[in-house]
Amino acid sequence: MDLKGKGAIVTGGSRGLGAALGSALAKRGARVALVARERAVLEETVAKIRAAGGEAHAIVEDIGDKEAIHRIAGVAAALVGPIDLLIHNASTLGPTPLRLLLDTDCEDLERTLAVNLVGPFRLTKAIAGSMALRGRGVVVHVSSDAGVNAYARWGAYGVSKAALDHLNRTWGAELDGTGVRFVSVDPGEMNTRMHADAIPDADVRTLSEPADVAARIVRVVEHAESLPNGVRVEANAASPRGREEEVA
């Protein structure tokens, strides 16, 4: 997909990978709506993109809130036009330090699924119909290695990402042939606040920079037509150490 002039939504857009994606997409000429909960940080990110000559808008909403879904879809389309690219980047780890499943409150698992799985389902449901009608669109799910391999203390998060990957595959199977493409991307381990929350003592030299990973994801989006629908790809820029070693 050629990004010039296209409408894009990036959730979790205030910092880390989301902010880097917003900036990379705006550089390619996309019109970007960034969604996040914290107004101040989000507006700062939008201001930076605008200062660099890109188009970006702030939408202060929580993807885990059912009431927010049509507000996000409507406000974003009003500001950037029909949505051609939807990147589900927002996610929560649940309470940190990360807990064993036996120590996880059921409500915390529910909240993790609401933000990481049900929210993306709802937002895609609100937008993918218009994409399929117009015969084009790309939906990206930001996944994790924890959705494939089981790590102690990553239960709630890992379960949500495994389900997100399967949601991605099923969307791809159902809408194959309509022109709407679905892809799941494992960004690898990045130097972000989220990573620091999960693994405070990680050696940052082993972590990828969000801007490098964002550039790889943008390339995946630009070539989405040549990938099988619903595919999962890895976009990690650095070679990660074993995660088990880090959380031990």
Partner: protein, 342 residues
């Protein structure tokens, strides 16, 4: 006809009346049967406007209660129809008139949204142009947080935003749901596509169906913005050239496509009135809701079928418990839809 008073759970089970002007006949079905009346050569055109929460509550400078129902505009001013005290629970025609406003008056809507009256229409004092202080994200976010979907007294409870979106919603241009597309579940869209039928989008700013003022109601529909993508215009031309039918989903699609065909433009504002005197240039058939005789939506149907057939069909629908309004049953008016056997 009784209104559907709430969204129903299984759109494919809703009723469908198929009217064939060529055979001067109609038959009753369910929406799930739609595929048998649409051929592989047909093009189905859908309005992809999302419905925004266009009803804002506020007060005038004098402290009087006011409700504004917004009409989207591509400029920075918004047209609005004003109402007085009360809300949708009271029938529109029984609502007290809005407090009188003049050019330059300040209005404050919920969420602290400030607006100024730019112009009061010659047609009616209820029809004004508003300019909001907020712009872009701040304005749209405030409308989405504090506005309510426009609804009428036949609906039994307050509607949520998701109740008034079709399965194709994109940009928020519609003040009322372009409801003809509402029962078209993707199950049926993908089935039609698999049989070879094609789909295309237009965006049309479906406005208000009632203003509460007889003079203004007589002038409905007001001028509305439309956009027909070049792809859609091309698909209309190739479909007709190949002997297929262009099937409009809803009256707003008829207005958009016929306006584009007349103006030879892909976007603009239209006050085109489609009725029995209108010779269709680009649309061949119509899938729409059940429209009450005498309304502007009903007048549009007469461009597709003769009045006696439409009244017989409507009477049959009433007698057989079809439901009306935005959550109601559907009608397909298409030449050649019914074979001699059906």
């Amino acid at each position: 006809m009784s209104p559907a008073s709430w969204p129903r759970l299984a759109p494919l089970e809703e009723r469908l009346l198929v009217v064939d002007p060529d055979r001067d006949r109609f038959t009753a079905h369910r929406v799930r049967d739609l595929a048998q009346f649409i051929s592989a050569r047909d093009l189905v055109v859908i309005n992809d406007a999302a419905t925004f929460p266009a009803s804002l509550r506020g007060t005038t400078a004098a402290g009087d209660t006011i409700e504004a129902r917004l009409l989207v505009s591509r400029a920075n001013t918004w047209r609005a129809v004003l109402f007085g005290a009360g809300d949708w629970r009271t029938r529109t025609e029984n609502r007290p008139p809005p407090p009188r406003v003049r050019e330059g008056d300040a209005l404050v809507f919920s969420g602290g949204l400030h607006a100024r009256v730019q112009r009061v229409s010659q047609e009616s004092e209820r029809l004004v142009d508003l300019r909001f202080e907020a712009t872009e994200s701040a304005l749209w976010s405030a409308i989405y947080r504090h506005g309510r979907p426009v609804q009428y007294a036949h609906v039994k409870a307050p509607l949520a935003l998701w109740h008034v979106q079709t399965p194709f919603a994109s940009r928020p241009w519609a003040s009322e749901m372009p409801s003809a597309a509402r029962p078209l579940a993707w199950e049926i869209v993908l089935a039609l596509r698999a049989r070879g039928a094609r789909f295309a989008a237009v965006t049309h700013a479906a406005g208000l169906s009632s203003s509460g003022n007889p003079r203004l109601d007589a002038a409905l529909p007001l001028r509305e913005s439309f956009e027909v993508p070049a792809d859609t215009m091309r698909a209309v031309a190739t479909t007709r050239a190949a002997g297929g039918r262009v099937i409009a989903v809803g009256t707003s699609v008829v207005r958009a496509v016929e306006s584009a065909a007349r103006a030879d433009a892909t976007s603009g504002d239209t006050d085109l009135l489609v009725n029995e005197r209108h010779a269709l240039r680009a649309v061949d058939a119509l899938f729409t809701g059940m429209h009450e005789p005498g309304t502007s939506h009903d007048a549009l149907l007469h461009a597709f079928a003769p009045a006696p057939l439409l009244s017989r069909a409507y009477a049959h629908a009433v007698a057989n418990g079809f439901l009306g309004h935005e959550f109601g049953d559907s009608m397909l008016i298409a030449r050649g839809a019914l074979s001699d056997a059906s």
